[in-house]
Subunit: 142 residues, 2 copies
DNA sequence: ATAATATACTACAAAAATGTAGCATTTTAT
DNA sequence: ATAAAATGCTACATTTTTGTAGTATATTAT
């Protein structure tokens, strides 16, 4: 499972915005591009605004823009914001077998495996994503 | 999020059974030990039986035993069986930004990060878990 | 001013995951 | 034979996640 649909949506939205060249992204435009259910998308955009990743302007010519530099937003931050910071921190074997006894045997291995994934997600910013995307595009168009 | 509660339960059950010295594990005993909701636990045990990890015997003196050698059951197999084989294989940025265009820029990084985790989960069997558990126990008791 | 085009909010609906209850069936000790 | 102790099964209940509808509010072009 790894990520909830909601978190995937959030990453999809931010990832899309980060790799295009618009200033402003109205919800309706994102809907047309991403096909995330319309009202759900709007709610997520409001959430992402409240969480400080993007900023909104209302009224005609309104829409969403990034609230801070792409280089300051990494994937772990987005995941933590959407799923809660504890989501990536539970023991693989759960409570019982782990806590009841002594730290579960799998704990170390699991921590290590997960740590590597989290590290990659932490060190990669939306700016990195954009850079990679643009480079790939040049290569493909050639 | 990473794993559903159901999958955590399954790993908890099998991990617990793998690290103790009983032959036979009746549901009621596992309930007492693991505190997984009683009826849900029973259902999971039936599922795990149908999926071939454990075998059941009914009637008095019945219960559950491993259906195959501990060394032939790894964590990936259990996760795949519980969540479906595709669960660990979706693109981080989801469909739209990824497929609509060209393979999404994040894809490679994501694949790599996840692959490491899956590798660890694949190469670790319940026999490894048991071994580690027993070793830790000796150390702790000293 | 007003209409058009945005986001914000609230309440509800549907689907999926998790949890519960109760009875049926099987086996074995007595 | 019968009671006890176990799994198997089905149907329902609750909770969480995901999705929908409609109205309120803000901004700007005309």
């Amino acid at each position: 499972m790894i990520l909830s649909k909601t978190t995937e949506y959030a990453l999809s939205i931010l990832g899309f915005m980060a790799t295009r060249n618009r200033e402003l992204y109205p919800a309706e435009y994102l809907y047309a591009q991403l096909k995330i259910p319309r009202q759900y998308l709007r709610r997520l955009l409001t959430d992402l605004t409240k969480k400080g990743f993007i900023a909104s302007t209302r009224g005609r010519n309104g829409g969403f823009v990034f609230a801070r530099d792409l280089s300051t937003i990494n994937f772990s931050q987005v995941i933590d914001a959407m799923e809660g910071p504890e989501a990536m921190n539970t023991c693989l074997l759960g409570f019982a077998a782990c806590i009841a006894d002594h730290p579960c045997a799998m704990h170390d291995l699991w921590l290590e495996a997960r740590a590597k994934m989290v590290e990659t997600l932490t060190k990669t910013s939306l700016a990195d994503l954009r850079e990679k995307y643009l480079k790939d595009q040049v290569t493909n168009d050639k």
